[in-house]
Point group: C2
Chain length 251, copies 2
Amino acid sequence: MPKKRPSNKDFDNEEVFPQLSLDCVIFGFNDGTLKVLLLKWKGTEYWSLPGGLIRQSEDIDNAAIRILQERTGLGQIFLRQFHTFGKIERYDNQKIISKLSHVIDPESWYDRAISIGYYALVDYAEVFPNPDQFTDECQWWILEEVPELLFDHNEILKKALHSLRLELSYQPVGYNLLSEKFTMPEMMRMYEAILGSKIDPRNFQKKILNSGIVIKLNEVKKGLAHKSPNLYMFDKVKYQQILEGGGLFII
Amino acid sequence: MPKKRPSNKDFDNEEVFPQLSLDCVIFGFNDGTLKVLLLKWKGTEYWSLPGGLIRQSEDIDNAAIRILQERTGLGQIFLRQFHTFGKIERYDNQKIISKLSHVIDPESWYDRAISIGYYALVDYAEVFPNPDQFTDECQWWILEEVPELLFDHNEILKKALHSLRLELSYQPVGYNLLSEKFTMPEMMRMYEAILGSKIDPRNFQKKILNSGIVIKLNEVKKGLAHKSPNLYMFDKVKYQQILEGGGLFII
DNA sequence: GCAAAAGTGTTGGGCCTACACCCATGA
DNA sequence: TCATGGGTGTAGGCCCAACACTTTTGC
């Protein structure tokens, strides 16, 4: 049975790269935990990372920005390409086709595809999750509770987290994970959530203040049933300097 | 004028991925400097990085290994995927076609390709450089003397070096750049060559010995017009432990 | 003996870690 | 007044950077 040649156009009828896709691991931070944005495929209980195809008319970085924009509504985002996945058997093709046959056309499905992985850090509060044409739900999941995902997406997520941790250890991160104004404990909990370990609050505060990437505001966060914490914001100039200087910023 | 659809087979008549290539930055270390393996295109004075296409029947990591094998004759090599290059205009297509029209068929040339970048560290002394079907020379170049390369290969090289430096700063490196037995000054010069900066020999020695990744041998290197340096070799068990533990190894 | 490169030790300072109590607030 | 979480200082040790002279060897 001759296999139909898969179309090289996407849903907007744009020419795309064949056998190539792009997957995004979108991290948000809320309620003291790190979260990931996942999509639930139509008529199933299966979840996957958001992804898409790369148009012939766009840079791959822009493809990632477009996909993020479509899923989150956000424009300005922190985005990193972290790895390209290209094993022959990234996942069990037959299994995927049987799980998703009512959504995808098995005839137009590539036997093999290579996927470029990006991760993004976004401000949880500003995201309006938005499913795509294959999916009917787009939701935040707590990192530790992420279920078994379609394709090799658990592996991609794992590698993204590893890359994020590595990046965190030599660069300032968090500009996009926290609101504009934030408290020191919020920032610390973000670091703890990403690193998956506890940090001493005294040492953390000293290090962050020493680095100069945040500015203490003359404001406190009120309305909490305990001492009102100070508010801070990032010193964007200093932050950029460290980022661009390849500077060290070890936590 | 309708454009012929480029063939999706490579020179061994293997099905390959369309619009996708793989470029390798092969680093060697000799004579106190870091070197890169470059290819000179047939009938020209133009140089490029070694690269190739990815077969449908191989993992991308294996494609990189194959390409390296073909160019260097080496089997066991240190290899890292570091970035995927996918801007629309990675380089000036017309310029490339005019420079290489006698080697490549402009009709079978893709307007646009995405390239996956790998870098490798190899033992300079064991390499037998070997041109491919497009090129008639394969040679080591001193890093600082690399000329203007074809395509966007200067940029790829720059990014590879940056990734290597980053990796060097948190992982032990050098197992593949040095001969089996080496002296401390040789190892130090390798670090200096990669980092592009001077290191204090006393501090370097202390740090390396403390880390436990090398074993001091009861041998010296004779035949030099000065004090005979001690020989060392890597403690492969310890080396692997640090690599896998994601361990720190800051120089 | 001379030129060239190897080998080696100490000190001071800064940074990192470990550690616990009081304070402000809303309920 | 109580419960909750925020805010803060110090001491010890380790690691890091800076620094220069002596040794060995071949010629």
